[in-house]
Symmetry: C2
Subunit: 256 residues, 2 copies
């Protein structure tokens, strides 16, 4: 893992040059409850407004961190969650990440105007795989700027990447002003693993949050991700997950 | 099938009111070769620019109808295909269709500015399923307007719909000025079937094109879709498909 990270840092430094101090919105890092770390998620193509409203009610009742939806549903979710303390989270460029950067920025601006508090965007995986690191950076940066201070979570789609590529993606996300790196869309060939979360945490250190998503269905799954270094969990089985408890040392099991 | 269509027409008429004459770009309906009916497609998240360029070279060599890509790659494809007669086709709101309508329109406008000749958009499946037919219509209409006269293919994602919903989607797409209806993204739970193509053709009659996509891998698959009423085929296995021939009556086997 250390080798992959060192190699990634040297690739990014060579390509993007030295980096100065970076302003970024703060990640949520210290929720006391398991529920408070969960982005309650409904992203399927066939989701209806009544299903979206149900998810919002569940999120209010269980005090989840956010409700995470496609951008079409952002105004509805923001209205349903008003005054609850539960955040409205919109995915952008989802799930392929292969939209034009300007289209991702436009979708972000619309989501913010509609009431989104957080943006979960997908990187341009193809650019990363061919080593176009400027392309990856500028794509993320366009979304960060369009988000106007709202935290951006950068989905790197770990299942499509090798360890060096994962580390490069996290390093670039940090430089571009992301608040979090996030493992997966949940719609590709695989989801979050503890090993990937640990790698991502090792790259971003204490500066960014790490969100684990994709295939997390039980309390045990979620606790394993938190132990590996995750601050946030993306899930649809959120009620089942939150019915369990964090271990007494759960908040710091990964050293964070 | 006739029952489903009659029920769909009555639902759409009741909800959207009477419809006057509709201007729409002409669909390609009369390509002589099988290759000339194929949209050569590369839509995976991890596609690289060199893979996109390879697909463009293949499309020029085999005289496919178009190259169909995510919007990030439109300027590259348009440059690679310049002067070839092969069209540049961009997907929009792909593959979930759950982006904000304005975001789909923005992505469409960017694709057109980047050189797209055709737009393949995904409907708001959730709105269709809950009977918000105005929502479905206005979403398509926003893309048709943003496409500024370029043909729009409306992906209805047949695998998520019952027959009445499929017919409603086609009827609405026709009213909204689409040039084609299209079966599938190829990224959901199923692809094109001959029965769905026949249903869609029966709804749109001779006014629109029908594009079959998702799971079409052989000449036999493609010929079956054309026999059922398809004008266009979306595929990645295009070279294998085009290595076979249309039957002598293939162009009119479905009566179109």
């Amino acid at each position: 893992m250390e080798d992959a990270i060192a190699r990634a840092r040297s690739l990014v430094d060579a390509e993007l040059g030295p980096v100065g101090p970076i302003d970024r919105p703060r990640a949520l890092r210290d929720a006391a409850s398991l529920a408070g770390r969960i982005d309650h998620t409904l992203l399927g193509a066939a989701a209806t407004s009544s299903e979206i409203v149900r998810v919002c009610h569940e999120a209010r009742e269980h005090a989840f961190a956010s409700v995470c939806v496609n951008s079409r549903w952002v105004p509805l979710v923001a209205a349903e969650l008003a005054g609850s303390g539960v955040l409205t989270c919109s995915v952008v460029g989802f799930p392929l990440g292969a939209m034009a950067s300007q289209a991702k920025a436009d979708e972000t601006a619309l989501a913010v105007a509609g009431g989104a508090d957080e943006i979960d965007m997908v990187i341009s995986v193809g650019d990363l795989k061919e080593g176009n690191l400027h392309g990856v950076h500028d794509d993320i940066r366009a979304v960060v700027i369009a988000a106007q201070g709202r935290p951006v979570k950068v989905i790197i789609e770990t299942c499509l990447l090798d360890d060096v590529q994962k580390a490069v993606a996290c390093e670039i996300a940090a430089r571009a002003g992301a608040a979090y790196v996030k493992t997966s869309t949940g719609m590709s060939t695989g989801g979050a693993t503890a090993a990937d979360v640990a790698l991502m945490r090792a790259v971003v250190g204490d500066d960014l949050g790490v969100k684990a998503s994709g295939g997390i269905r039980t309390t045990q799954d979620a606790v394993a991700m938190i132990a590996a270094g995750a601050d946030r969990i993306g899930a649809s089985a959120s009620i089942a997950i939150a019915s369990g408890e964090l271990p007494a040392d759960g908040a710091s099991a990964g050293g964070y």
